[in-house]
Symmetry: C2
Subunit: 383 residues, 2 copies
């Protein structure tokens, strides 16, 4: 159970299989986000059809509504949501922190006001684990604090030390053998604090490790050295999960740095806003161009939307504010992310990741590949 | 082409096949409404999966946005919407009339302000047919005036006479052999005016006839005698289409009176509002009951929602305002209407329509079957 087997390597990038109680997934993988127990607008069958493997659900949201016990009464998330594969739940920490002034952090945990009904709620490491055990995901996350950006070095240090103490309490609370608890490495963009977090976290020997606290407002130039440094020190034979990251360019660059798992609301959120992801960059369906174009969103895509609809039709749905528009753009964007990691896996298997990623980036960035992307490739996959 | 073959009769109710260029449909049938070229939230594949046959699209909406020529550039509605079966387009008349003070009616046609951009638009019988030929549906409707309820008798008489003159212009304008033009009988709730409309309209010998001008605010006690009178005088060997009617109880009662075709936004609209149609009546998913119920919406239904989700999960989606909620409730409601006409067809075929409809109504109305329903059954299907 929870065996992680690296099958191919190309520089630091790797292709692996990760065994979970509800099935074996292939990494690198992208996890669609089902915040409230549904990937917005998408059916479980469509998640399977687009090549989804593991789905992320949010502890914070489900705890407040409908409550973890209703999910438990369905036999956990697969019974509740009807998605029959593996799940990962976050710990609730990130969402609570993002409430800002509405919450208070102590050594014990976090107190906050529910966004649903305004009631005062406590979330502690113990409660987070209890909720995640009721939700029944295959992978559960340690309760952590994700400091905002920017934050003072000293605050980040104290916070990450408390996160380690919370990790200890999470591990002590955890009782289910069929769930893997992943620890989260913090430390912001500071190499010495990342090193401290790694020193304190790695000894817990959890079956996987996450890189937390990034993609919260810092620049790419600040984020990538932190990813590179952290990923390099994480165990070779355990999955590495970069939390909350999922723009196509970040997925490709972080795979080069040895990251295995990604999640992000980006494909569904940008879809709801009328954007389609393609190898040529993001297509704005609100602009006038697509309104008369009779080709699909993406001629290389095999999703339902690309097999059935023209850009002109989808642009009409966007303008007419029809429900099918966010649904089809979200579906396409999820498939785009899955196809992207599938192509990355194939390139790693062929030991051609560097040239594949370089060619992908030349087209995606229209010839202007940024330095941070170039560096992520160069330092990790020698030609 | 457009052959209508009655296969079974039970009282005035009948089961028939209707041949169209894009396939043969079975009547009685319910047509989901794709106002803007999409049945709100539902994919073409789901329309097929739920047993949809013919889809209605609105001339008024598509003419204004995206414009009929873009639809024509896709080869018509099947190419544009990716629904591969037969279509019916309305004439635009009903929508224009419902604009109220924003439109002006003359002998020539109607002038109105576009709800999309406020521009002044003319719609005449000739333009309606031209647009409908560009949209390319299998069945197209004559441009008519649907008077409001209540309206003065004298206004309704003058209006229906003008509608007959417009029908003449529609027939003169029509050029495509692969489209059937249906005439529309008006006359409000007045038997003598319905008789006048029938006298003036039937000689046109169109391949189908619609009953228009009902379900616009009058009571059931006013509507049903008008349906009964009109349907009885319509030709036996041509389809009879009751426009804009599609509540379950009206579908069952009007089938008893010999109606073959129905359309209504009700299943999708009530679904978006959080209601599910069942044989026990309308289930309000906003109420507290369903929130803890682990059974499907409808244990007798075979739709995707009923095969995969509990009421508790769907009630959670409704409360959380998730996109999957209107989608799944609309899907279920469309399937409910299709299953209803399928069961009606089976009962007619067995010559047990009266007892089937009686049993259905006892349950649906919880023992309090209204007189208008009872009368619709009694006058048409002697036991």
């Amino acid at each position: 159970m929870f065996e992680f087997e690296v099958q191919h390597r190309d520089g630091r990038a790797r292709v692996a299989t990760f065994n979970t109680p509800r099935g074996t997934v292939q990494t690198p993988m992208f996890m669609p986000v089902g915040t409230q127990g549904t990937v917005k607008g998408i059916s479980p069958q469509e998640l399977l059809d687009t090549g989804s493997q593991m789905i992320l659900a949010n502890t914070y949201h489900l705890m407040l509504r409908p409550g973890e016990h209703l999910v438990e009464a369905h036999g956990g998330l697969p019974g509740f949501t009807a998605y029959p594969g593996p799940f990962l739940t976050d710990s609730g920490g990130f969402q609570v922190m993002s409430l800002g002034h509405m919450r208070k952090i102590t050594e014990e945990g976090v107190t906050f006001k529910s966004h649903v009904d305004g009631s005062v709620v406590n979330l502690t490491p113990e409660r987070s684990i209890a909720v995640q055990e009721a939700l029944g995901a295959d992978v559960i996350m340690a309760f952590d604090e994700c400091p905002p950006y920017p934050a003072e070095r000293e605050y980040i240090r104290r916070s990450l030390e408390r996160t380690v103490r919370w990790l200890e309490r999470c591990q002590a609370m955890k009782s289910r053998e069929d769930q893997a608890l992943f620890a989260i490495v913090q430390g912001g963009i500071y190499e010495d604090l990342r090193a401290l977090s790694l020193d304190l976290t790695l000894p817990f020997g959890t079956p996987g490790f996450a890189i937390g606290g990034l993609a919260v407002g810092e620049s790419k130039e600040e984020m990538y050295p932190a990813i590179a440094f952290t990923a390099k020190r994480l165990p070779e034979h355990k999955p590495r999960y970069l939390m909350g990251v999922g723009h196509p360019e970040d997925v490709v660059a972080a795979i080069a740095l040895g990251v295995d798992m990604f999640d992000c609301v980006y494909p569904t959120r940008t879809g709801r806003f009328g954007y389609a992801l393609t190898d040529d960059g993001r297509l704005n369906m609100n602009s006038s161009g697509p309104r008369t174009q009779l080709q699909p969103l993406d001629t290389e895509c095999d999703c339902y939307a690309c097999r059935h609809f023209t850009r002109a039709y989808l642009a009409h749905l966007v303008r007419a504010e029809e429900l099918l528009a966010p649904r089809m753009l979200s579906l396409h964007n999820i498939r785009y992310l899955h196809r992207l990691v599938e192509r990355a896996r194939a390139a790693i298997t062929r030991r051609q990741f560097h040239s594949w990623a370089q060619a992908w980036a030349e087209r995606y960035f229209r010839g202007k590949v940024p330095l941070w992307f170039q560096e992520a490739l160069e330092t990790t996959t020698p030609a």
